[in-house]
Symmetry: C2
Subunit: 351 residues, 2 copies
């Protein structure tokens, strides 16, 4: 197990009995933190994308459950009822990322196991579990980066889509964990960051966090990826994931699917980096993953300015599904899965 420390960017923190979230909607212009003290605020923060990225949503939801336990009534029945209600509230925030339900269920199990003893013990255990889950997430990201190294060439020029970085996780990042590991091994030449419309996580978040860490980054519009591949300027693509089906189909930020097609056309390897908690073995294939459709105004309005006439319809799916046959390998905290993924992902989960 790795002991590499990573404390530069930790978007989900706990401070004075409150959940402290970096407001990612304001980056890169402003670095502002929000302090949340009840579950409904956490649900709202996840829904409005104060915090985003499947693992970071999981960490936030775990702390949300710790807040729920803290605020729940003292009587044991009322306590567990409030905890169960909070779990439903949090799970309803966003549908696609499986880490959200996974983290909430994990906290519910811990709280329920301790609540039989005392409510005070259950509260303490909930907070400890949220801390553990978040620290674990950073450690897993570092392990993902280490697992990827045999796949990273010298002077690598890496294209990534959206932000699967420290900001999307407890810290360090999944896809950007691969980037950080490559940089640590002296093999990183350049990261090309897709802007990632409509929410521009590549421009606003990936470029920001790589600049913060002094890593080389070049921003491109989403329209440019194919051209860069054609001119031989991309060695590999790596992205994160919000949910991986049992057969290796990968749900991730809208636009990922087409980047995977472009990579295949140019014979450039396309990799996915994610903790094993992102694999949803109860979902056989990607067609069964729910895809969130968000407000069309996210497409029509940028920073308060309308870019298309009033009355023009917009489509705004937040995610897409990349079929497993376009994925060269999946880097996880417990090693690398290669096709066929049904077998290789299951094998990584064996203790």
């Amino acid at each position: 197990m790795s002991t590499i420390p990573y404390d530069n960017i930790r978007p989900v923190q706990w401070e004075d009995g409150k959940l402290k979230l970096l407001d990612q909607r304001l980056l890169p212009a402003q670095t502002r933190w929000l302090l949340l003290h009840e579950v409904e605020q956490v649900r709202e923060a996840i829904y409005t994308m104060v915090v985003r990225g499947a693992p970071a949503i999981g960490c936030s939801a775990a702390y949300g459950m710790a807040l729920a336990a803290k605020n729940a009534p003292e009587d044991p029945d009322g306590f567990m009822a409030a905890v169960a209600a909070a779990a439903e509230t949090l799970k309803s925030a966003r549908p696609t990322a499986v880490n959200l339900a996974w983290a909430v269920d994990r906290l519910v199990r811990v709280i329920a196991a301790r609540a039989a003893g005392s409510v005070a013990a259950a509260r303490e255990a909930a907070l400890e579990e949220a801390h553990a889950l978040t620290d674990e997430d950073v450690r897993y990201c570092i392990q993902i980066g280490e697992a990827s190294l045999p796949y990273i060439p010298e002077s690598a020029r890496i294209l990534t889509h959206c932000n699967a970085g420290a900001l999307a996780t407890g810290g360090y990042g999944t896809a950007l964990g691969v980037v950080r590991a490559a940089a640590g091994a002296g093999r990183l030449s350049m990261v090309y960051a897709d802007e990632t419309r409509p929410r521009q996580q590549g421009a606003r978040l990936t470029a920001w966090e790589l600049q913060q860490d002094g890593l080389p980054v070049t921003l491109i519009a989403d329209t440019v990826a194919g051209s860069l591949m054609a001119s031989g300027e991309i060695d590999l693509v790596v992205v994160g994931s919000d949910r991986i089906a049992a057969n290796g189909d990968v749900a991730n930020k809208i636009g990922t699917y087409q980047v995977a097609i472009l990579a295949a056309y140019h014979q450039i390897p396309f990799y996915v980096a994610a903790p094993l908690s992102t694999v949803d073995f109860s979902t056989p294939d990607g067609s069964l993953i729910p895809i969130e459709e968000r407000d069309p105004e996210e497409v029509a309005v940028i920073d308060g300015t309308r870019i298309t006439p009033e009355g023009v319809a917009c489509r705004n799916p937040a995610f897409d599904v990349t079929p497993h046959d376009l994925v060269k390998a999946i880097f996880t905290d417990r090693g690398v899965a290669e096709p066929p993924y049904g077998a290789s992902l299951a094998r990584l989960c064996d203790p």
Copy 2:
């Protein structure tokens, strides 16, 4: 030959001895016209994209040459020297669209032929030629639309990239001419307009002009095209072109190339619509077409708001080249070219 009138949107006009251009940088928020009375203003308008789209640039440059003739000295030697200098000035505005040089050279020939007679006759002939070229462009667009009809299914759902519409031509449009012809034939179900970052011509111009004409349009981020194709919501793709090489390779707005790859992957036909003046027979293949690299700030700043941190590098190629093997057919004013394009394009040029 068609007699369908189209006067709804004419972005390049002549009024009171001046070139009148719709300032496309301000759409859709404002409809403002600029009046230009000298060549340097026309060059600036083309460079800064007051007017854009290869055919509309050609029309504007033709009027620019009419202005040059109008403003040139009376003495025959000084007159032709000023005309020649103006031609170089205009051609330097943007490198990729072949229609710019084509229109300028056509005006120079007409002016030179008449200047031997009298300077006054040359001035008059220049303006007549600019009018003729612009009216011809509208007529050619209508013919392009008619030529495309055998390729358009019932209830067609058409994806387009950038704006190859009335705004990009004398009027009616090339790719959107195909859309208008489909609508006229009762076969248009929906136009999906790619936003087309960085300049957002799809959101700002295509959505605006289709809405103006009461045609159905849905805006999508550039990241969504692949997903819509996968879900069976696109029947065909049609785009314009800034230059077509003799072998059928197509230079067009950045992002076109990857849309063509996505169409091929999903077995959706990808068509190009352009007047024959867009075919540059002196350029054997697309690798020889110069690709303009524009200011990185176009990527980093949208409507005055910076979307990525200061100091982050950006790449901003304005065009890309789609290899001919990804193009199913090219719709022109003189009929349809199909592979192999070397032969079929040359044949269309035969009188």
